[in-house]
Amino acid sequence: MELRIQIVAIVASASLLLLVLELVRRKRFLERYALLWLFSAVILLGLSVWKGFLSTLAETIGIAYPPNALFLVAFGFVLVLLLHFSLAVSRLSDQTKVLAQRLALLEERQSEAAHDRPRGEGALEELGSAGPGRRTLERTAGRS
């Protein structure tokens, strides 16, 4: 591998690694994403520094110009990371949907309970010891 491209590759992957480390230090990542990125950055840096292995790798899979093997590996990481994000986004939107629905149901139940209370005030004496909070609970349960 030519020296210039090697320097570029080392500088790029080292910067990536430093950036990831800094973000981890500031706790901007959840651990699982930090691990993925750290792993990617370390592998890329390793391949840039250890050019003997990169050449062997390139030769084995039939790539004439070793730096292209580096791109291939980097591209592989990008694909995996993107796939991972698609999964994460899908799961998040699913969870968001459930939250939104639950919130709507709760708000309806709450406004219904608030609406009911003035009308049921007279029943308080009949119920005797049951306090207002208890009564609301029972009413809510009774509706379901």
């Binding site: 799961r91 969870q95 949907k97 629905q101 919130l103 309806e108």
Partner: protein, 253 residues
């Protein structure tokens, strides 16, 4: 019609302020034993207020979930509150609330049915001239679904549907996302629930636009086709109670 049974009408509405009030009044007039709940799917107009004034209960979603998420909120409401039957009526006035009785009659005539679907293509009188592109798509889905489930389905995109308790339970757990009606028929089939179509009249939609714009028709078709084939090969059709669902299986993000 069972006098002791509890009936719920779910009206999903997204910016349907012009028509939702009339639909609610019609449902209350034509089907007085139904409780009416409007799912306000994050409307930016006064849909929710109008619905409340018209005497409906309102589930207000904090943001727009799309028709699938909105209707599923209705299923959850029906399940939570122990309703025996739930009918879905569109807020744009396309479905005639007078036909709810037709659905109920079909359900009563055959108690093994879990879903009765109002079809606009089973009658000879065509009160609903859909654009040709839409009709092509509908008939393609109808053909595919009929082949897959081995039962004639003429109007798979109709949202005018009556569900019994088993249907409510199934779809409260899992209801398809964007254009749910077609996929829901498949899910029903895989869970060995039974459905039937009955002819109903439908009207031209009132104010408001369809959730399917003409430019999106092709996209819609491809998406639903994909959903059909995904539905065919899905590893776990619906999360069972107690089982690991896609949402709860992995805690955190």
């Amino acid at each position: 019609m069972h006098t002791e049974a509890r009936y719920l009408a779910v009206i999903p509405a997204f910016n349907e302020v012009a028509t939702v009030g009339r639909v609610i009044h019609e449902v209350r007039a034509e089907a007085p034993h139904f409780d009416v709940v409007v799912v306000d799917d994050g409307s930016t107009d006064a849909t929710g207020e109008v619905a409340r004034t018209a005497g409906a209960r309102v589930l207000r979603l904090p943001f727009n979930l799309g028709i699938g998420g909105a209707v599923q909120a209705g299923f959850l409401y029906a399940l939570d509150n122990g309703y025996d039957f739930m009918v879905q009526v569109d807020a744009d006035g396309q479905h005639c609330p007078g036909e709810i009785a037709t659905l109920i009659d079909a359900m009563d005539a055959d108690p093994t049915l879990d879903l009765v679907c109002g079809s606009r293509f089973l009658t000879n009188e065509h009160g609903y001239p859909a654009p040709i592109s839409r009709r092509t798509g509908i008939h393609l889905f109808a053909f595919l679904l009929s082949k897959i489930i081995g039962q004639r389905v003429s109007d798979p995109t109709s949202g005018f549907r009556l569900y019994n308790q088993r249907g409510i339970e199934l779809f409260a757990r899992d209801y398809p996302h964007d254009y749910p009606e077609v996929e829901a028929v498949l899910m029903l089939h895989f869970h060995r629930l039974r459905m039937k179509e009955v002819p109903v009249r439908m009207r031209q939609r009132g104010e408001g636009v369809s959730s399917i714009g003409s430019g999106k028709s092709v996209y819609y078709m491809i998406k639903v086709l994909l959903a059909i084939f995904v539905g065919l090969v899905r590893a776990r059709p619906v999360p069972e109670p107690g089982g690991a669902s896609p949402v709860t299986a992995t805690p955190g993000i």
